[in-house]
């Protein structure tokens, strides 16, 4: 069958007995959990990656096999869990799937997750296409179960979203064999010394972790999922991930060492390969991580020129140039039309108001970040999930009052629940002398990644109804007195009036601008109707002011 890398890894997770999949949406990783759920797996969105990683860890402590999915920057949020669960290890199996975005097709940076594997001291697998994703997912889970260690599974945009043929172990849709379905039957076994990482227990845990890694390295060298394709004796290439396919096409005669497990590095296999060819080149996207590992081991390899090739994703043409030693600056490809907010998008109205009032906008991550681009150009800063609130408060604290009173923090609904809640509490705890205004753009969905549900939509990943949190109640509970909800489209004049008034007061204000994403509106309405009919309950959200 023809599957995307995301679909293939989800299918593999089903086929290796994964009991729970959790994560937070983020391009290009989002479809993994959606596919896992569609294939019959138990899949759920968490409010953010840290919580997802913790939910998965609890399940893995109970002996279950789990996957946890996120994009690269999500791993920053979950890093706190990662570094210490490497010490504790797991009782079942734990594969954390992280999707990097070389070239930043849909991300705020192009950080390289391989450094997390090294820094946290956990194994890392790197598939190159859909079949590889399917096969390596199985190997990653086996590694995790065998050594009781969480494993990182690094995908990249092109591996996640490219489709290629896959031959699965079991036919699609067929019931799983009993041994697979019952892999890791959960049971609580008390083991305080391995599950409580206080210094007294963490010190031996660190030594255990390093000993595991040493063993895994020997295994990776001897029988890891790495492959030598022996062709020319003059040129050899060490590579992993999508780059393997670019290399195979750019240099059909080259010998290749393709790594499936890049951490801990199989140093002996690398040394043998490098010594077997006249010229050995390391081809990798982003950071010179593999090359640095080889050079540190004193292997005779060449790295790409990072003044040119560290930036953006690789392709066949770039690999040809790297192999030819062509490090001239590259031609800038023609720029296409940038994406824009849909016509009729409620964010348009909100940002028109912000622009009309000449607000200083501390923004956040979501479709509405597009409002930073011309012609709207009404967002002044955007860094990471939830940062709108903290950055807005910082501006308010130091700017002269007449400027401070123009500052608004603007954040979307899903992003608010992901990373904005501590910022809300900070706002009430350390209020600036000019007060502050937080505008929550509630369009009823995680729109940018393709309309995923979250705790504010009242719907779970599988579409079933669940408790819906109220932003208004949260704001009041945090200590904000002035809390309003407005429809930014139908009530645009009202939003402007309210915002203008709030900016001038030295008080804290939260305004929820509530109007559904136009792409999701139909689905939201149908869900509301069905829910009203089945429960005959009152609407949960307070009447709009």
């Amino acid at each position: 069958m023809l599957l995307s890398g995301n679909e293939a890894v989800a299918l593999a997770a089903r086929h290796c007995g994964v009991a729970l999949g959790t994560g937070y949406p983020g391009t290009p990783s989002t479809e993994i959990l959606e596919s896992f759920g569609a294939l019959g797996g138990k899949a759920q969105w968490a409010p953010n990656e840290k919580v997802a990683a913790e939910v998965a860890l609890g399940a893995a402590f109970a002996g279950a096999r789990v996957i946890c999915t996120m994009k690269h920057v999500g791993l920053n949020v979950a890093a706190d869990v990662l570094f210490t669960m490497a010490y504790s290890g797991v009782d079942g199996g734990y594969v954390l799937i992280v999707a990097d975005d070389p070239g930043m097709a849909s991300s705020q940076n192009e950080q390289d997750s391989r450094r997390y594997a090294e820094a946290a001291a956990v194994p890392m697998f790197e598939p190159s296409d859909s079949q590889d994703a399917y096969d390596l997912m199985g190997a990653a889970m086996e590694t995790s179960v065998r050594w009781k260690i969480p494993v990182l599974f690094r995908m990249t945009t092109r591996v996640c979203h490219s489709k290629s043929p896959v031959r699965p172990k079991f036919p699609l849709g067929a019931p799983l064999p009993p041994g697979v379905a019952s892999a890791g039957v959960p049971e609580f076994v008390r083991n305080i010394a391995t599950h409580v990482m206080v210094p007294g227990y963490a010190k031996p845990a660190h030594r255990r972790l390093r000993a595991k890694l040493d063993e895994i390295q020997l295994w990776n060298d001897a029988e890891g999922p790495n492959r030598v394709e022996r062709r020319s004796g003059t040129l050899g290439v060490i590579t992993a991930g999508i780059s393997y396919h670019h290399v195979r096409e750019a240099a059909p005669d080259a010998s290749i060492l393709k790594l499936g497990m890049s951490h801990p590095m199989p140093l002996k296999a690398l040394a043998d390969f490098a010594a077997s060819v006249e010229r050995c080149v390391v081809i990798e996207e982003n950071d010179p991580w593999l090359a640095a590992g080889c050079l540190a081991a004193k292997l005779a390899v060449e790295a790409k020129d990072d003044s040119v090739y560290r930036f953006g994703e690789l392709d066949v043409d770039r690999v040809r140039r790297i192999l030819a030693g062509d490090n001239r600056p590259e031609a800038v490809p023609p720029r296409g039309r940038p994406p824009e907010l849909c016509s009729g998008c409620p964010h348009r109205s909100s940002f028109e108001v912000l622009k009309e009032l000449d607000c200083i906008v501390a923004g956040d991550i979501g479709c509405y970040t597009l409002a930073a681009l011309p012609p709207i150009a009404a967002m002044d800063m955007m860094i990471d999930m939830g940062a709108a609130i903290g950055m807005g408060l910082g501006l308010r604290h130091v700017l002269p009052p007449e400027q401070a009173r123009r500052v608004v923090s603007v954040i979307g609904d899903s992003t608010f629940l992901h990373g904005g809640l501590p910022g809300l509490v900070e706002m009430a705890y350390n209020p600036p002398s000019t007060g502050h205004v937080l505008l929550i753009l509630d369009n009823g969905t995680t729109a940018m990644t393709g309309q995923q549900d979250h705790p504010g939509t009242g719907r779970r990943l599988d579409g079933t109804a669940t408790y819906r949190v109220s932003y208004e109640d949260m704001a009041r509970a945090a200590g904000v007195q002035r809390v309003f909800a407005v429809n930014p489209v139908r009530g645009k004049a009202k939003l402007k009036e309210l915002l203008a008034e709030s900016l001038g007061r030295n008080e804290l204000t939260v305004i929820v601008a509530r109007s559904p994403c136009i792409l999701a509106a139909g689905s939201i309405l149908a869900f509301e109707k069905e829910k009203m009919a089945s429960t005959a309950c009152q609407p949960e959200n307070p009447a709009q002011t």
Binding site: L2, T27, P28, A105, S106, D129, T157, R158, H161, S162, K163, S164, P165, I242, H245, H246, R248, E249, D315, V316, D317, P334, G336, R337, P338, P339, E340, L341, C342, C367, L370, A447, M448, T449, G450, Q451, L519
Partner: protein
């Protein structure tokens, strides 16, 4: 050119987000796969691409390596949005085939949204994929209520 070509064939679909680029490439890749070829398909997508330039590459043959088409080597370039033609034209190899909305009599389309299927019909003339495989794949990619309109759009393109 025919569907049993031994070397890799490169087909790029281009347009703006929301115009059916991804769907068209999905269907084409599916048809090539159903007829026994090794197929790879690559694009960058995400809802944030809505309204922005979008490209999707399909490569098929006996053996395909990179899922992305190297520069200037598209055998076929199917552009769904007239404003995008100049942007992507450079991807075509010498002698490659460019298909644009100008190929399709727009007023005879069952709906403007069916342009992608009509262009697939137009593209189908260059391959010997069986008619039945095309219609099977089209049905698999759309809800039942669109099957008749898509059948008509495909025929329109094929005969344009």
């Amino acid at each position: 050119m025919n569907a049993t070509a031994k070397s890799t064939l490169n087909i790029r679909f281009a347009g703006l987000g929301g115009t059916g680029v991804i769907r068209a490439s999905d269907i084409f890749a599916d048809v090539a796969f159903r007829t026994g070829h090794t197929v790879k398909k690559a694009e960058v997508h995400g809802m944030s691409q809505r309204g922005g330039s979008v490209q999707s590459d399909v490569r098929f043959g006996e053996e395909v390596n990179s899922p992305m088409i190297p520069g200037g080597s598209c055998d076929f370039l199917v552009v769904l949005e007239p404003t995008q033609v100049e942007l992507v034209r450079g991807g075509l190899k010498p002698g490659g085939v460019l298909l644009t909305p100008a190929e399709i009599p727009a007023r005879r389309l069952p709906s403007a949204k069916a342009l992608n299927v009509a262009l697939l019909g137009r593209l189908s003339r260059h391959f010997d994929f069986p008619e039945a495989v095309w219609s099977e794949s089209l049905r698999a990619h759309f809800p039942a209520k669109l099957h008749a309109a898509n059948g008509a759009a495909f025929e329109l393109g094929k005969n344009s």
